[in-house]
Symmetry: C2
């Protein structure tokens, strides 16, 4: 998800008395490459900087000496009860997923949980032990799915491409991802239409189903749902993801994979994730109690406004630029149950199509010194490329817009 | 490594104003099961409790927003420079491994790094793409190796059992583990003697090569060495391991596996691990400067004395008990370059052999309500079982000794 990236981004340059560079006005020389391919959400750093005192976590030297966090929890013995409770509280606040009558599994990011889900769903007794189950997703799909599925060439599962083209008389797992990475489309239903009536299982990747990105139109109740701290609050470096799983046996198998893979998940990160979620929920609770909160103090409102502003600026620049088309499939306005008003989608990524050259990524690199993720990594075409909308601090995003505006002059 | 474990151990019962239960005198009813099969090192909690103020780590809300920690480090872009430096300092202090002219890779425990090593070593262009490479270790070997190797039935590598019996005309990876888990033997050289002259690669698992367990007789300089915080300082819940790798391409492949597996390693845990290592090193440095430190303030001396006391008590009890034999293969006394004196081995595990029943684990459970890890999980026989020497607080260990002493009465 973040490979082949040579230089340190500006936002990590914390030489300002502890103040993140995203809050400073550092200038970016044109010779610097702008990395918009990493999937980071460092633009959200500015919110957490404002909240820094409330979110402080202190860890003492004798804490986290055991592999286990809750041996009595047979669904996931390495998950801390505090994180479990915080996740339930967060979903109850937002209304985006039902955690009742389900089991929570924590992982080192949704990435590890995705592999745990493949393992759990492919080790069903009803499946042939000799044929790997086919894993598919509708293109364009997240670039990590094929690589993660085929990483160690498992005999349990294998990547089988675009779900729309799936036509084998074999069992399969379809990944349903909404809002979709890379294009932001909201496709809540699976697309495989298997004429053979084969056994099909579903993984719902809902890491972007949060109110800063999209209206919360329903409370998701799928069998196996994936979420992550990276995409919700932006804390990618903490490596915390969670799965909400209906079937306890599946949850336990996922836990088994994570046990064999890494013997659990950092206790420090779990504690911090719980704290961050609690602070987030507390701010909405105090709004409801005394109504004194401003929008800028509420995480989803702050993040949504930031995204909205960036999207408006990007659309304006693109409308005057003849080289690219924005190819995101934006949903219609929809009523957001969380905001209690109609609202729009502001995807975490812009999905560019290049009109000038076959390879959009190469064109951006050559003309703008911007690194994007090429469309062919998403099961699509290299004329497309994905650009992070939250991957940089404000100054770098502005510089990106400047380069996009001036591309003809560079020509 | 910690599966099938139903109840919360006493040491996690932190209802004593924040004081870990290991420092309290809580009594353990005989009806309680004692878990000595988990591989935890919670006995070391008492040392870190003493050092709690020096090791405190404060994490602010805006930290760790990016996947990357050091994009300029192409060997491992998610490793923090602070952890890298602390690891080098620790090995320089102890003299157990050479980090010069090598590359460090951080992982979610040595467990994830082991899998990263299998991936890196099995994707060599010289190997057949169709035949999984054989993975072997001399029995008795760590119980995790077979399960972790065959977890998702990779086509790149497969578990092939006891290294001493390896006799295939195929490429192989041999794991050399010293001091050996479960029996503490120090076997520094590989044992495969392949008459076909096949390509053989080595992984040196040195997670127990620290001065509390064994004399430091040499500075290890192998091609690929694994270490972990769990076994060194006892912080198992932090999930921090590291590899020292000679070949940069191998290090990068390991990093790639961890990227696809979990997109890196918790920043919170890396920061804390670095802090703990620094405090450990500082205490030795101040000893050298002013000589004022007592042994109880020095981590390895404290931990070694704790282990020595437990081993002496255990040997005494076993000498009067007719049911078991201690089957550890203790090395001869050897000169420890770290302590500058001759010293003994005190393994992290006791390797029991049962004289009364075929299945040692079942016998322990039935007669003593003690859960051990059965010998057959270590490529050995079920008449053996592994017992944690540091897995419990003092009161639980004493209760274990009491049950062992009174086993005849229970009979």
């Amino acid at each position: 998800m973040a490979a082949n990236l040579p230089s340190l981004p500006l936002h990590n340059n914390n030489n300002n008395n502890g103040f993140p560079a995203s809050n400073t006005d550092s200038s970016l020389p044109y010779s610097s490459t702008i990395h918009l391919d990493r999937g980071d959400k460092v633009a959200l750093e500015s919110y957490w900087w404002k909240m820094r005192d409330k979110c402080t976590v202190v860890t003492k030297g004798w804490e986290f000496m055991s592999y286990g966090s809750d041996w009595s929890n047979s669904a996931c013995w390495f998950m801390t009860p505090e994180l479990r409770d915080a996740i339930k509280r967060l979903h109850a606040l937002v209304g985006n997923a039902d955690t009742d009558d389900s089991h929570l599994v924590v992982g080192n990011g949704a990435t590890q949980l995705f592999q745990a889900a493949l393992f759990a769903l492919s080790s069903s007794p009803s499946l042939s032990p000799h044929t790997p189950i086919n894993v598919v997703a509708a293109a364009p799909h997240y670039s990590g799915y094929p690589d993660e599925t085929d990483m160690v060439r498992s005999s349990l599962y294998k990547w089988s491409g675009d779900a729309r083209e799936y036509d084998k008389n074999e069992a399969y797992i379809e990944i349903v991802n909404y809002p979709n990475n890379p294009d932001g489309s909201v496709r809540t239903t699976p697309v495989v239409n298997n004429k053979y009536g084969c056994e099909g299982k579903l993984i719902h990747d809902l890491v972007f189903y949060w109110p800063h990105y999209t209206p919360i139109t329903h409370k998701a109740k799928h069998d196996l749902m994936l979420f992550s701290l990276s995409k919700c609050t932006g804390h990618s470096g903490s490596r915390i993801g969670w799965a909400i799983v209906k079937d306890k046996d599946i949850a336990r198998k996922m836990t088994k994979l994570i046990e064999l893979n890494s013997i659990g998940v950092s206790g420090e990160s779990q504690t911090r994730a719980a704290k961050i979620m609690e602070v987030l929920c507390d701010s909405y609770q105090s709004l409801r109690c005394d109504g004194s909160k401003k929008d800028s103090e509420l995480f989803f409102e702050y993040s949504r406004r930031l995204l909205k502003e960036r999207w408006e600026k990007l659309r304006e620049v693109i409308s005057e630029n003849g080289d690219f088309i924005l190819h995101n499939k934006f949903s219609q306005r929809a009523y957001c149950n969380f905001k209690n008003e109609s609202s729009e989608t502001y995807p975490a990524f812009a999905w560019f199509m290049c009109k000038k050259e076959e390879d959009c990524g190469i064109y951006m690199d050559k003309k703008m010194r911007v690194v994007a993720r090429s469309g062919n990594r998403f099961g699509s075409d290299s004329k497309f490329a994905r650009i992070d909308m939250l991957g940089t601090a404000e100054d770098e995003f502005e510089e990106f817009l400047d380069r996009l505006s001036n591309i003809k002059e560079v020509n």
